[in-house]
Symmetry: C2
Subunit: 424 residues, 2 copies
């Protein structure tokens, strides 16, 4: 009687069965690749304490949080990212857990923002985190795992590129330029905006952050750097940030992934908690937004739980990769279960076909049992377009003779069986 | 530096890796059983339009909805159940979809309520729905699928019972008792409260609903009925509701599940949209809350989308079944992937072990590669308690001789291989 808009809430997605097939294919590869690297799966509720999120996120994210109060006045929120929750869960059990630990999850996350291509207000994010390991082997493990997922999804090594940088290196450069450490955080967040906002706005942000115009010139000069050798000429080859980056490239090389990783001075990431190596992966043609991103956050646990735990992590959303796979014409693998469609002529056969359906299921088949009786012509036309491998129809003749003709819908051949074969 | 409470928001759950193993085992059985019955998976966002939920839910549920406004003033909510969303998604495509359709999802749902055993403020619910089918074969298919999931989870047929009733039958009885149809909805919701609230409160609710005291006596008499024959003596054997129940029992019998289903006049369900058969499944000892529940809702699509689509569905939450399985000492199957732990003595072996790790992964193993060098004793003690099947350690000797000793951690035997076997 009422007119109603049947679309989902703005920025949020419905998954019809055909969408689910693709989503399940992506999730399944995420899970299996993570497990093959011995990451353990965890999860938490999509609703998180607002206070926790406010403490850990960058300014920008706080503005974008969906939040509300429950009936006892607790401030709750839909998590915009998983890292604060991971840190909460690990802090809660830091005396019991064994470090280093490798955890993953596939978590729905929410951000209230203007919508553009590759962004919704919700997405699922595959999170990989390694906690308790100071070595760059952690970053290499993260990047290898994520790269293997892209390869398993059918991308080639020429179709994606991981841009990598180091906040530690950037910090060392800022030090050389006489820029005080307390300015770095705002500086990094401003640099992260480069290319996304007009150059004048960026300049204004840097000035507002407290940089002199000479310092701003220096920052822009730094951002022209193209290679680790150039970076070395500024900070010296003994720079810790530089060494870490060189080591990471070497590790990725050993992994056969040297050609997908590239130093890029402009990568800083928009979250304030990163402390060392940071990275972003894009499609090679840069047609889409970042496929995944992350980095090292060695101070998060000490600010949160007063406990020093080095950590590195990565977030890989489902939206951009879905767009890339769709453009490539990716066909998700179908569930390999063989399916038989069973139809029947009248209610007299109902009990028999139910028993047959059970018998086929016990033999490992998926069974699509008709929910009502119908004519054979209607049944076989429906069965033919169902995608199933087999079909069989039970009518008065079959009941009389005790035989069952099982049609192979692909080869259009049929086998005759005794019904009694299938019933105990 | 700050003291922070690391628990999740009240009523919501964290899933540590050991919890995830059990959750994944349940979800995996839900999915595979649904697929073996040819239900197709769908999903939607946990955030739904408040308006949609208000229209479709019973009064009680509306009070329990978590809701909030976004920055454009849209009223949004965390869905308390999946059926309104299912109806929205199907209504949006009713011209394209082929009916009857069988869909399932595993959806997180939220209710703000006082917490008790078997209830949290969030849970995951396996939803099975059949839309476009008026026959009771739909209810039988739902109940068979859910029962098979319970059996697959290791419950025996003596450990659960499905109580079934019919609102149609109840309606016919109310008609016989002269209770006007417009009172039925409130009457059903009151009956649903029986056993959960004091008898006087129930009486007051019925009086408030507009029933005379003679009618209330009649209702209580009806609620004493114990068998379909007794019900038949009131409404007559030609009653539509009675016939449907008898047919359902017959269908379940054909499915070998006649002994898990039982007529129970007191089952009515708390949601206002049910129109026909309703059911609830419990553990046989009634120690826990309902395992699953559902029924037929033939009018939901006509009130919502002005289109007549008979439907039946079922919701099966993860909380109660988790409690039951935990009490039974259920051990979820481990992922069968064979795991090898690889360790190394110093950074000189790093590149070699990375290559070995890749090689083992390509051979289908899960590889737990140490993130830092360590002494063999520390490595093997860690490997031994890791649950992995194999372990191998690379030090200067292995590099010199080019051999690799792979230890089987269960049998404590070892095989010697050439490292070159594994590298291209």
């Amino acid at each position: 009687m009422s007119e109603f808009d049947f679309s989902p809430p703005r920025g949020m997605r419905d998954f019809y069965p055909e969408d689910m097939t693709l989503r399940n294919a992506i999730f399944s590869i995420w899970r299996s690749v993570a497990r093959s690297h011995c990451f353990q799966e965890y999860d938490s509720c999509v609703v998180e304490k607002l206070d926790l999120l406010k403490r850990k996120a960058g300014e920008e994210i706080v503005e974008q949080i969906y939040y509300f109060s429950d009936k006892s006045g607790r401030e709750l929120a839909l998590r915009p990212e998983m890292t604060p929750t991971l840190a909460r869960m690990i802090s809660a059990r830091h005396n019991i857990l064994k470090f280093p630990l490798k955890w993953f999850c596939i978590a729905q996350c929410f951000r209230y923002e203007r919508m553009s291509r590759g962004r919704k207000r919700e997405h699922y994010q595959w999170n990989l985190d390694i906690v308790g390991e100071p070595s760059i082997t952690a970053e290499a493990e993260l990047l290898t795992t994520a790269s293997e997922a892209l390869l398993a999804l059918g991308l080639t090594k020429t179709e994606f590129i991981i841009n990598v940088n180091s906040r530690k290196l950037l910090g060392e450069m800022m030090e050389k330029g006489g820029i005080a450490q307390q300015l770095w955080e705002r500086l990094f967040l401003a640099i992260d905006k480069r290319g996304k906002i007009p150059e004048e706005t960026l300049l204004a942000m840097l000035a507002e952050a407290g940089l002199t115009s000479a310092q701003i010139d220096y920052v822009f000069k730094i951002l022209q750097i193209n290679s680790l050798d150039e970076a070395g000429s500024i900070v010296g080859e003994s720079s810790a940030g530089l060494k870490e980056l060189r080591y990471l490239l070497e590790l990725m090389n050993a992994n056969g992934l040297g050609d997908v990783i590239k130093f890029d001075i402009s990568v800083v990431r928009g979250l304030s908690y990163y402390t060392g190596i940071v990275f972003e992966c894009f499609d090679s043609q840069r047609k889409f937004r970042a496929i995944f991103g992350g980095g090292r956050y060695d101070n998060l646990f000490s600010t949160m739980a007063n406990r020093s735990l080095p950590a590195a992590g990565l977030g890989f959303g489902d939206v951009v990769i879905t767009e890339i796979l769709t453009e490539k014409g990716y066909k998700p693998p179908s569930d390999n279960i063989e399916t038989i469609v069973i139809g029947y002529y009248s209610e007299e056969q109902t009990m028999l076909v139910i028993k047959l359906a059970n018998a086929f299921r016990k033999r490992g088949k998926s069974v699509n049992l008709s929910l009502h009786s119908e004519k054979p012509s209607a049944f076989f036309s429906r069965a033919g377009s169902s995608g199933a491998q087999y079909a069989t129809f039970v009518g008065p003749d079959e009941m009389k003779t005790g035989t069952l003709r099982i049609k192979n819908l692909a080869t259009r051949t049929e086998e005759v069986h005794q019904i009694s074969e299938f019933l105990e």
